[in-house]
Subunit: 148 residues, 2 copies
Amino acid sequence: MEEKFRLDNQLCFRLYTASRLITQAYHPLLSGYGLTYPQYLVLLVLWEKDEQPVNDIARRLLLETNTVTPLLKRMEAEGIVSRRQGRKDARQMIVGLTKKGRQLQQALADVPETVGSSVLCESVTPETVPGLFGMLDDIIARLLEKRA
Amino acid sequence: MEEKFRLDNQLCFRLYTASRLITQAYHPLLSGYGLTYPQYLVLLVLWEKDEQPVNDIARRLLLETNTVTPLLKRMEAEGIVSRRQGRKDARQMIVGLTKKGRQLQQALADVPETVGSSVLCESVTPETVPGLFGMLDDIIARLLEKRA
DNA sequence: ATAATTTATATCGTTCACGATGCAAATATA
DNA sequence: TATATTTGCATCGTGAACGATATAAATTAT
């Protein structure tokens, strides 16, 4: 009864904490541009492929649209993205980068490197990262199939 | 410019997603008892050591007290914990388990096992978990020292 | 073509997270 | 001892997350 409940034995707590701390690490790099970490994720998605409906963005980030919609509205208010109704399908809202949103990619060019290096350590190196990625991907895939 | 910004190359996104999905996995196991995942974490801390000041709980979970205080108040309203002023130090609020809070440990006895098994897969096994824990612990330690 | 169903997005309510700030008790300093 | 500083907790505001629900457009079935 004792051991299994120990906080130090919980994978979930490690993931939860690591996720929170890494988000905090992004904060000083993004806040100057009025960006939050989830908003930065949206930018990553749009930099890969501009002009996407809300649904595609949400699916790519594995978030619900009711999370993404208000987030996109805030980004629209900041002039980072634009939202327009779809032409073929009037239900869709197509989200695109504004000039400001595109320019942010240059401004944030050093962010991935900076955060990456702030995480590297003894056991997390360019050699071990693929293994870590693999395990996290497997965990995510496993939890996703359970969810369906 | 392209590659480093790819969502699939981001450690942060994997941690963020894995954390969210594992929290979602807890939800059906906890909601029947009116518990959220962060509240479950508080219970883990109190089951290890009853009667702790807010500060100790927050530090153990690496959260701020302004996150933990309202959370504890909700748990108090649910009758899961009690809060009383400290005797030596009148500033402290000592948080303790109620009978209901203690009984939840028996009721939730299967939760760690259930969640654990829902994560096990090809690359995440009893043999590989220690390595994963080590890497996550190192990442957390690295980010914590940067924060100070 | 009309009705039933599905799909895309949005709204609402609750609970975190957390930066900023306030306040009172405890401690350190003058 | 009086004053300054630190400490522990709380309040406030903002932005996620997400379950539940709503609404309108598109699709399918009758």
